[in-house]
Subunit: 135 residues, 6 copies
């Protein structure tokens, strides 16, 4: 079994803010991430699939098709978007890196054919990333 | 003369939108960067000063003081902010990388003592950066 | 158990082309990677071994010896080579990143003494890499 | 279960030298790393914790708190220090990357609350890193 | 005057070989770069234009248009190509990084409108790059 | 005229300390960099030469020869060394990045033949580098 990883990138705005909390508590927990006028990030997403190389192509999955799939399911949905306002995924949960990578899994996993989705790694800043393995 | 460069980073939200134009023209020119709900970036800023190394310290400028200055004048002003809404600098000009790097020059240059500000480079994405030399 | 990784790099030419297929099918599947006059890559290879640190040296394996081994078994064989024409490994299989990393495992694994080969990661471009764990 | 990684960095001096060995053997095994006047590195440390995102915050662990913890337990202890002379950890073992990453685990692990420490990766040079999973 | 840089990438095969020299001399000068079956690289190209930001857009040049121009004039011509065999530019000169960056200048410069081409930097490997300023 | 850059790396220990000052003043100015037991860095050095490409080779200077020259004059002198104790260059000046890059210029410049040394860039940490142009 071989693991193939494809990286794509996009950027977006978001805000961490819990509507059930006071502004004081939001600021205490989220700091500047709670800024009501938003902030944003350049996101890098690394998608890893696993399987046996096909005897005819040598591929687990054609990396161009994997790229197209990530573009269609992830990049086109989130690029230059406001995660809180422009997408339906963060109405009841925070757009944290942790929750975001799980949302990405649910969007990509049904479309991986002929091999299996192994993990998604989402890099939010140079110093912070989250990884999810589907369980 | 030696050139010393210090890198700092922050992230922010912004939007490119010309209020004198129709929405159609804004979209035609700025594309997704005109999204009314904002998007954002991780910004890296590289500040270069030039001068002769001091005989006692070997420094053009103490890199820690340069770091503190960039933190005070740049990072604290823009980190986790909305460039259009939370700062006074982009009321009449677009918060493009080009204009942003010039704003940074005007904020930093008066505070560089004992050597000279040579250039500021602002990296907006992995693939795009602007540099300004003050003239 | 600690995992030690050593990175080395080289560059090579290759072509993805299945001799059992028509040119049309080769182009449909492999795109520009099927160009009959070859293309090439800068490859980065990350070799990970695992074991207990030796009480006298603190090493799982001397990183210089690991480097020399990768140089001898991988870099000297493939650097500035045409994978299809200059090596015996890709006569019956495609020189895809998937197959290439498995070839590397078979070349390195017999020479790892005193600890165990854990994985090999082969980076073909900034956006694509494969990893193999020997099973 | 989601995995969150935070990167921090520092630099330090060290020397690999086994006092039970002759100088000849030290040089034969450790090469220039045995230089009696020390050498040093810029170290990057990647700390990974795992757990379920909190429903209120979306966090496994607040990345700022994780950063502060790494600063307190790792960076403040080792930054600009001589690992052999200025710290108590390498009196009986070599300050190799392998041993250093295990020391880091023992310093950090007791302070991780509400989630679990998964791994620590210590990058010593661009080409060498070690990873430890606590077992 | 502000300087805007846009990065694009592609990969290609090539060979350094002077037909007027003996094989011995080719090997002595070019080493493995003279391998008759080619080798290849992942190339990163950084194109820098300079000018005054437009008052309406804040742009020296729309970075997307600059990207499209580099794609059309550089990437589509050279990506997955054999520089010696598949392009007309290296019949009488070597496809060295030095000559390649000058060829790129001649292809791009006539198409830069409304600002000026300042420099092109071509990164051939992690450790080698060339830069050309048009004079 | 084309500019060719070659990167090499090494690591070393050093200390910033002015013997004419009190310990209090040394700590106030240099902070932890004055630690009497040294600290260290991974250094990356980028050497840039300029000239016209040779018609026969396409080279300003053979990048392998440039690499060998940097290895001989810079890397072998400083790699795994204590800049203050193991080299003669920092007896009367601080081993700051600024002074170090000027020392490198004086070591390399006399050996550059057939083209000219343009600049040396010395990266001390991810966030700090100095550049020198020989004047």
């Amino acid at each position: 079994m071989v693991y193939l990883t494809r990286k794509e990138h996009f950027n977006a705005a978001h805000r961490l803010h819990n509507a059930n909390w006071s502004e004081e508590k939001n600021t205490a927990v989220f700091g500047r991430c709670a800024n009501k006028n938003w902030h944003g990030h350049n996101y890098d997403v690394y998608v890893t699939v696993k399987g046996e190389p096909d005897p005819d192509t040598g591929f687990i999955m054609n990396a161009k098709e994997l790229s197209s799939l990530i573009q269609r399911e992830i990049v086109h949905r989130f690029d230059h978007m406001n995660l809180n306002m422009d997408t339906p995924f963060f109405q009841d949960i925070q757009p944290s890196t942790e929750n975001f990578v799980k949302v990405m899994w649910s969007l990509l996993e049904p479309h991986i054919k002929g091999c299996r989705l192994h993990s998604i790694r989402l890099q939010e800043t140079e110093n912070i990333y989250c990884e999810y393995f589907g369980e």
